[in-house]
Subunit: 698 residues, 2 copies
């Protein structure tokens, strides 16, 4: 899959040029000077030779097989060139040329035609409007980027070509090595999901990095990422926000959803680490690419100065890492080998006058400590500090230890020798302790993800799908195509939601019988399509407690309605179960343009409206994911019970979320819905869906 | 003030050494090689010459006046040396020697004696246990740090000597210049407040940076910072947490307070910018030291690539900056000078093939835009990019513009020339756009602080202080020395708080009369010091509505109490006003070990307990500060009114906070208190302090 993009036996450059500075020249030059081992075929009808290579008027003139073609011809020639490629049997194409979707509607049309034809011809395309691709393993630099990155274990794909150039340039200065480097361009065909699939199985790659502004297909992206993160870490910077679409949100969920929440949820569900900055992206990558994953989150800090030790401990406190509590043996070993003024608990402070030997004794003790998973070594340049020897000691002691080690040698010239040695030994050094801690935290998070693979379980409630579809189709006749009241309740009932019992009674006797059946107390409401504000005319009676009250209320409600609007069509009264008190939560769904149905959960009322304290997940979800969603909100403790309250029936919320997930996944015509409130009783007592609105795209 | 520390006419080094590597040698060397212009007197009884300078057996042998003495003698000699200093009339002393407070109780005793004697002799002391001090203006390097920083406009003081060394070393590599560099050590005498006072008036310093782990005296620190930030920005990294003291918190406020919240509040109240990392500290400093302050928070972004532009716009969105909306003239000017594919709205994208001239046209347009306060120029290295010329263009165009300009030239070798030119022109460049935005945000925050000086107004409620003191003294007899009930209410009443009306009635008749006077409905409670759980025995009656109900309730409550506990002392019943419904808030105070009384405000009940949604300020505060405190909580909207509710009487909360501030400031014996709840009515209707507990240190 995509093999010819990374290890082609030969490359043609269609639109190659003799003129230095032109893209068609730089691509040929990059292939040549970086010693690509296969044949290179410059294609240019106007010359016979480019950079010492024989040039051909057309790829059809090349006799040998061509593995990969790089196109730099102007966009107006693209449709005829692709035909040549088809004839020549080329299956892998990088289109560097710009002037497609990014340039307006004409370009978009051209891109559409190109995509269609490429597909017919079975040609996979990277780009158009991209920088190209680099594979350090096969020494393939099929790009016009200046400079070749060094070889390393980090793969990087970027939706922004310019950012890619900047990062390449920076990586050379910082000595950061890449396995693969891919500029995605317009993602006409090959997109981030394809790359995740390929890079997950690439033995040269230890960690996959990406910069994206959006995804081509949210579902495919999630599936690819889910599989990839089982094998190796994926870290992504996501910037920008896609337009949420023209339709204004009509539900609480719709109002709160938003593209960034969708990405946040999707990343979480498929184990992608989200870096908030490009700096963090590479900070994480260095630890993930070259260090063992921490087995757990227990951090030891070793320093020769109090201040930086405190800074690091503070940062640890704010992170998901914890400060390791050393084994007794470790403490004894530190006590016996360090001077009495040293701090032997975590952070271990070997004191300002420490030479390398003192660091070394401490390092040995910490290497053996069973309560330590990761180590951060801090060093400030004091009079007696031996940065180089200390660095070598760290490398020697922790090589093969199975523990994660990073450093923060702080300073400039005085610590340079040490940092170079760390670099040679693939121990990531950070200029400040805080960045080191953040990177370790990312490694710990990924370790936790990898050790707890989440198998999405199929947990389906058996429902009559045809019946649901029929009910949903009633939305066509409703205002804003939104189902409420009994229609929405019918849908929920079918999925096994408990809904308030209700019925229509035409006579006082029927009302009494129905009330007894539902169970007292009950609520009575006038049933008339013509009367909107039922309460205002005395058409609603709450908390009726027995047959007698029901009989009397029936007479009063009906006559009040007749008095108020003699012309109204009166169907009788509805008898509604009084919903017992409980904790009110809201469950909802809004369609995300990238990821489809996105579920929301939060506590009802002001918690959603004012605090916006909600959690999101992309559907479908299983019970485990639903439970994590519920426990994620800040007000989770209110469900667990505060001030001696009994806990709410959280299991019933989990069930409800999984059912909602099934509903919105099976019926893509549902574009937004709120179950608000779902009234949750105490543990074991279930939950009742009191009200619901479903907006349908009919 | 501290003049001889920074511009002494001569320096003596007491404990100077001939042996390279010794602190006493390095200090003399630093003075010499950095060309300190005054006389240098090495003091060492065992030699006549050190580094070519005449050495004296004692400072008493030096005939000339000595401006500043640096002590590096072992701590056991310190008491005799200070006597010599006194005799010689030295008024400024840097004690580098360690072995004092930081080394245990013997050292602490020595430090105490030293401090006492220095004070008697009118000698100001920096240290002990410090790295020394550097003043680049007078070429004074009175430290044992390796390397001299270059001259610049940034002053830096550090509580950690080792961190100081690392930063000095790093600053030389990064070409960052300092005016003053001070290692505080143990802060026996000179502390951060002294330095703020001195540096605020130092013409060589544009921005004051500090690293602290605690403060010597919170009040003095705040006063000094408040005055300093009127003149120039102060940025501080505060790490570590001071022990909250042995006493366990007994109030909500005490539980939530904590040292970090105190520092956060103190910094806010005196305009200190808090940097969360050392990296951020210097990022902010570069903008604040060399760029004009932005007049407002409107940012323009100029880029040659979409990706980084989006990253920057995202970061702007998350910050307190806003994206500038350009004037029409600016848009026209951009439209006419840039190619049609360029983006002329903010972010302005001059497109990947832009040379310097295209950047320059855009720069000119943005310089003149009246809706832009600050500019971030992004540059990625593309084939045609001219990093050097572009950098020069930025410097030339924006010099004297009064606008804040920072850049993010991203990459390595390709952008180095440009970055060097920016550096020469004091335009801060950041490797990634996010850091640039954060630094600009800090500058904008400081600009806002400086333009809105907060004059603390004296707003005092006239109270009978002697009476308050008398009531507080009753705490001596109470459990945990905590006043509740009528005592606490009496204190609040004296400050003009509205408290529920109540009284003690011994007979049914008295109960009726009192109830009429207080106004129905009322609450009746059994009054007996022996009965703790009043409700359980039927000793509490809510919502009594008339005389008849009161008479009956009186008889029932008294006889229930007699039945329940025949031996109990029964004083009668209390008649309490029924507090109308309102929004419940909590006001409190806990003593912070550094800053003294710290006020807390939040919404009552679960908002405090579960969400911990509270705001803190150090007392005293005025109405303006109280209002900012109230509006700071996440649930502020609940006070403003949601779902059509009327707003709460926020003015009455402001008043209550200012009164509380006065109470706890005037009576330092109060160590913790909660007014919980203060029930707040709708606008204009006031608030009632329903319950209160005051813990007193008697």
């Amino acid at each position: 899959m995509l093999d010819n993009f990374f290890e082609p036996d030969s490359v043609a450059v269609i639109g190659a040029s003799r003129e230095a500075g032109k893209v068609g020249y730089e691509v040929v030059k990059n292939l040549l000077i970086n010693e690509f081992q296969g044949n290179i075929y410059p294609i240019n009808p106007k010359t016979n030779e480019i950079l010492g290579l024989k040039s051909y008027p057309s790829i059809l003139n090349v006799e040998d097989r061509i593995g990969l073609a790089v196109l730099v011809v102007p966009s107006q020639f693209i449709m005829s060139v692709i035909e040549d490629c088809g004839k020549k049997g080329i299956d892998s194409l990088i289109i560097i040329t710009a002037g497609f979707k990014e340039s307006g509607s004409d370009g978009a049309r051209l891109e559409h035609d190109l995509a269609k034809r490429a597909k017919e011809l079975n040609i996979r395309v990277l780009g158009p409007n991209c920088l190209g691709l680099i594979d350090t393993g096969s020494k393939l630099n099929a790009s016009f980027a200046p400079g070749m990155p060094i070889k390393g274990k980090i793969a990087f794909f970027s939706q922004s070509g310019a950012l890619g150039t900047a990062i390449l340039d920076w990586s050379i200065k910082e000595n950061i090595g890449f396995s693969k480097f891919v500029s995605l361009g317009n993602k006409m065909d090959i997109n981030e999901a394809d790359l995740l699939n390929v890079l997950a199985d690439d033995p040269e790659t230890n960690v996959i990095l990406g910069y994206i502004e959006g995804v081509k297909n949210g579902r495919l992206f999630m599936d690819a990422a889910y599989e990839a993160t089982k094998k190796k870490p994926v870290v992504i910077v996501k910037s920008g926000s896609t337009a949420a679409g023209a339709r204004a949100a009509s539900s609480h969920t719709g109002t709160l959803a938003g593209s960034d929440n969708a990405f946040q949820a999707a990343f979480k569900q498929c184990g992608i680490l989200r870096a908030s900055t490009i700096e963090a992206l590479f900070d994480y990558a260095l630890v993930l690419a070259y260090q063992d994953l921490p087995r757990n989150n227990r951090l030891a800090i070793l320093t020769n100065a109090g201040g930086p030790g405190i800074i690091a401990a503070d940062a640890c406190e704010k992170s998901e890492l914890t400060m390791a509590s050393f084994q007794q043996e470790t403490i004894e070993s530190l006590r016996s080998s360090l001077p009495s003024t040293a701090a032997i608990y975590n952070p271990v402070d070997v004191i300002g006058d420490a030479k390398a030997d003192r660091y070394l004794s401490a390092l040995k003790a910490l290497r053996n400590d069973k309560n330590t998973d990761a180590l951060l070594v801090l060093l400030t340049p004091q009079a007696t500090t031996e940065a180089g020897l200390t660095a070598q000691g760290i490398a020697d002691t922790f090589s093969g230890s199975g523990k994660t080690v990073v450093t923060s040698f702080m300073g400039g010239e005085s610590v340079k020798e040490g940092i170079d040695i760390l670099d040679d030994n693939k121990i990531p050094n950070f200029p400040h302790p805080e960045r080191a801690i953040q990177a370790l935290e990312a490694a710990s998070k990924y370790s936790n993800w990898k050790n707890n693979p989440k198998q999405i379980k199929q947990e389906r409630t058996p429902v009559d799908n045809e019946k649901i579809a029929r009910i949903l189709s009633r939305a066509e006749k409703q205002t804003e195509h939104t189902l409420g009241g009994s229609d929405a309740m019918e849908v929920l009932s079918e999925y096994g939601f408990v809904v308030p019992k209700m019925g229509l009674a035409e006579t006082g006797r029927e009302a009494m019988e129905m009330s007894s059946e539902i169970g007292y107390p009950i609520v009575m409401k006038i049933a008339s399509p013509d009367i909107l504000h039922k309460s205002d005319i005395g058409g609603v009676r709450l908390g009726l407690r027995d047959d007698q009250e029901v009989q009397r209320a029936f007479d009063e409600v009906i006559s009040a309605a007749r008095r108020y609007m003699p012309s109204a069509l009166i169907l009788g009264v509805t008898i509604n179960q009084m919903v017992p008190k409980g904790r009110e939560v809201i469950l909802g769904m809004a369609k995300d343009p990238d990821f489809g149905p996105m579920l929301m959960f939060g506590l009802g009322g002001i918690y959603v409206e004012v605090l916006k304290d909600v959690a999101f997940r992309i559907a479908p979800i299983d019970h485990r994911e639903a439970a994590s969603m519920i426990s994620e909100i800040r007000t989770y403790q209110l469900l667990r019970g505060v001030r001696g309250e009994e806990p709410a029936d959280i299991q019933s919320i989990t069930d409800a979320l999984v059912k909602l997930s099934q509903l919105v996944t099976d019926f893509p015509e549902i574009i937004e819905m709120d179950i608000n409130p779902l009234t949750v009783m105490t543990t074991g007592k279930g939950a009742i869906a009191v009200d619901c609105r479903i907006s349908v795209n009919v």
